[in-house]
Amino acid sequence: MDLFANIAMGMGVAIQPVNLAFCFIGTVLGTLIGVLPGIGPTATMALLLPLTFGLPTEAAIIMLAGIYYGAQYGGSTTAILLNLPGEMSSVVTTLEGHQMAKQGRAGSALAIAALGSLFGGSVATLVLAAFSPLMTLVALSFQAADYFALILFGLLMSVVLAHGSVIKSIAMVVAGVALGVIGVDINTGQFRFTFGMMELAEGIDFVPLAMGLFGVAEILRNLENRGGASATVIALSRLWPTRDDVRRSWPAVMRGTGLGSLLGVLPGGGATLASFASYSLEKKVAAEPDRFGAGAVEGVAGPESANNAAAQTSFVPLLTLGLPTNAVMALLVGAFIIQGVQPGPMMLMQQPALYWGLIASMWIGNLMLVIINLPLIGLWVKLLRVRYDYLFLAILLFCAIGAYSLSNSGFDVLVTVLFGGIGYLFMKIGCEPAPLLLGFVLGPMLEENLRRALMLSRGSLMTFVERPISLTILIVLAATLLMLALPSMRKKREATFVEEEA
């Protein structure tokens, strides 16, 4: 019954007016940027990170989390009505959702997406609440060797699951790791790769790097296609799903929720992967696969539940092991550190109010999302007509202020600008910045844990195979690599991306 006592405590924290307000701000902001194509949750959270400084810890984290799962909702609205996915994770929703809208079933699609998301989010939140205290106990038996194996696995998965060329993903991860090791080496105290610049002695700060790569670069890219592609909005009919749609949807929602909850926990996973996987699954189990591509409601219900479920469960490794499994979680690590909280096995004990408050706020946030989304769909669609010029100017200004206020130094502003340029270049040559960010955060942890493991074993490499946790992870890692090398798997991976481009 501890679970209920804990959830009750979390509710107590989450319904405090301040936290409720920031949960609302977060979810609305999330929906907003979810609706606006081109601005994703990673960029938004990166931009807002320095501004969370003066907030109470709970409020800051609750708001940032709200942006993340709020974006999963907002993205689907434009995907269905405009065939314009607001987010990566709602790309698959366009496939069936927009077809439904064209057939005059837009209302039905939107309602199914929202309710499926609510269900997926709520169940996954329960999974998180029930599962993470157990995980925390396990996490304390994780030692340096185990962390090393797990991080290696996470980096590998981020390469495997990234879109496009594997070579490019590897390059991005490696670039991230290289940037991450700049600064004082914690094992010897020596400066590395600082080129005599004292500003680099503590390494490149995560916030300006992320703001540049995601925020500034996105804006640069958006400035390119100004005025183009004015989308046609499909008029809304009734906002209630038909009985037939509900009947077809609920098994898909269940499957999507299960799949999403599972994939969210895996390193390198997250909302995007979950929605793609769920779509493939629905197509496979469907009695009449021909309906897919012509407005099959399962193709909306499954992926929408899956991406929301995954958005919630991807908090598990972060909250229990202190390991971020995707770029958004990496940003949250930054947010926790700014607030003086070390995410990891001791967090549950040290910050129970924050921990359970966050989990409870997710449930409240999901409910808020349904309430703000369904009646306000018309308003969100109007938002697409906001002039981006003004929006971009404001965002850039806040970027500069935010970067400067980190340590009252102009250097961080320069770093932001520099990585804005680099990020733009990456987009031009088709490199995804997300693996870089993950490499940047996980790289130093990888090195630290490798060296720590060897120090603890007094130099014996056997430590990685002697420890059961590490051994298990390394075996899984080897198996994954083997499977990837098999030609049949390669074909499948390509097929996924063909679907995505459709």
């Binding site: 010897t188 004292m198 500003e199 003086g340």
Partner: protein, 331 residues
């Protein structure tokens, strides 16, 4: 958002005022404008929180707003260097600590400040004891047992620290050499991760700053063996000092604390130093300040500028010795 904007405004305002008063004021009408305390670490850390408390108190006592300016970077040496080179007019102060005025000068060869010549000491503010904690499954319950255990199991023990050159690291090195034992240093990026590793048993012991570790002693996750102060700590009167507890190896002068003091750039007028010292001493006697320090695991200090000068001299000498004996490589 509000906070950063407000901070920005405050800074703009301060700069504007600074430009407006180029001529040096006679010390008699000091202070006529805002006073800045430079903190060489990010907002939210232990140094910053103390500085803000001091700034708040001095604002009331001196009648002008005292603001905290965070200048983190280069392991805390960036802000110290800036403070050392600030104007000597009494409007820039520095919150120095064990790192800036004890350890860093012995660890870095490239420092652009001299801890003694570049600064005028004002007042010793507080010290935070380190506490020797061991994992609850390590079969020792006292410092003597720990030393015996370490001698019976050479190089089996690992001690965690919050980083190379931190007081948590050097306390361990000092203990190693005074007890004549062998153990391996495992550095972590910060106290939180280091203490987690002692709780999980990945490492066996640590000299942690009291506020970070003591909660786990109370919750039964860690065993506390000793504190590293000359006298017992009021917040935990049943934990012996290392000098009391160690009988198989004598360590009568073992003192390793994270301490904080207020400084001004060297050659700041004497009467200004005197006025800040009087005000700060008054501040340190206020019950709410004493409570604030106790709650943070600290012991309030106080005294004359000369007291702080003496403390700095003895700290510099002590850490020089420890760093040389431990063979920590210099930068």
């Amino acid at each position: 958002m509000l906070m950063s904007l407000r901070r920005l405004l405050a800074m703009l305002l301060a700069t504007g005022l600074a430009l407006g008063s180029v001529t040096a004021h006679a010390a008699t009408d000091w202070p006529t404008r805002n006073i800045t305390i430079i903190v060489s670490y990010s907002a939210g850390g232990a140094t910053d929180i103390l500085a803000r408390k001091v700034a708040e108190g001095l604002t009331t006592l001196l009648g002008k707003t005292v603001i905290v300016e965070n200048r983190p970077g280069a392991g805390g040496t960036l802000g110290t260097t800036l403070a050392a080179n600030a104007k000597r007019d009494g409007y820039t102060l520095f919150l120095g600590q064990v790192s800036s005025h004890g350890i860093a000068p012995n660890l870095y060869t490239t420092l652009k400040y001299d801890p003694v010549k570049s600064f005028a000491p004002i007042i010793y503010l507080e010290s935070i004891p380190n506490i020797l904690v061991v994992n609850k499954d390590v079969p020792v319950n006292s410092v003597d047992e720990l030393i015996k255990y370490a001698k019976a199991n050479p190089d089996k023990l690992n001690f965690a620290s919050s980083g190379i050159g931190a007081s948590t690291h050097l306390s361990g090195e000092m203990f190693k050499s005074q007890a004549g034992i062998q153990m391996t240093h495992i550095p972590f990026p910060g106290s939180a991760q280091a203490v987690t590793s002692v709780i999980s048993g990945q490492t066996q012991l640590m000299f942690d700053n009291m506020p970070s570790a003591y909660q786990y002693v109370l919750s039964g996750h860690l065993k506390a063996l000793a504190v590293t102060t000359p006298k017992r700590v009021p917040q935990a009167p049943n934990i012996p000092t290392l000098a009391e507890a160690a009988t198989v190896a004598k360590m009568p002068d073992f003192e390793a604390t994270a301490w904080f003091g207020l400084f001004a750039p060297a050659d700041t007028p004497k009467d200004i130093i005197e006025r800040i010292n009087v005000a700060a001493n008054e501040l340190l006697k206020k019950p709410e300040v004493i409570k604030f320090m106790h709650d943070g695991g600290a012991v309030p200090a106080g005294g004359t500028p000369q007291d702080l000068a003496k403390h700095v001299a003895s700290e510099l000498a002590k850490w020089k010795d420890v760093i040389e004996k431990a063979g920590v490589s210099k930068q």
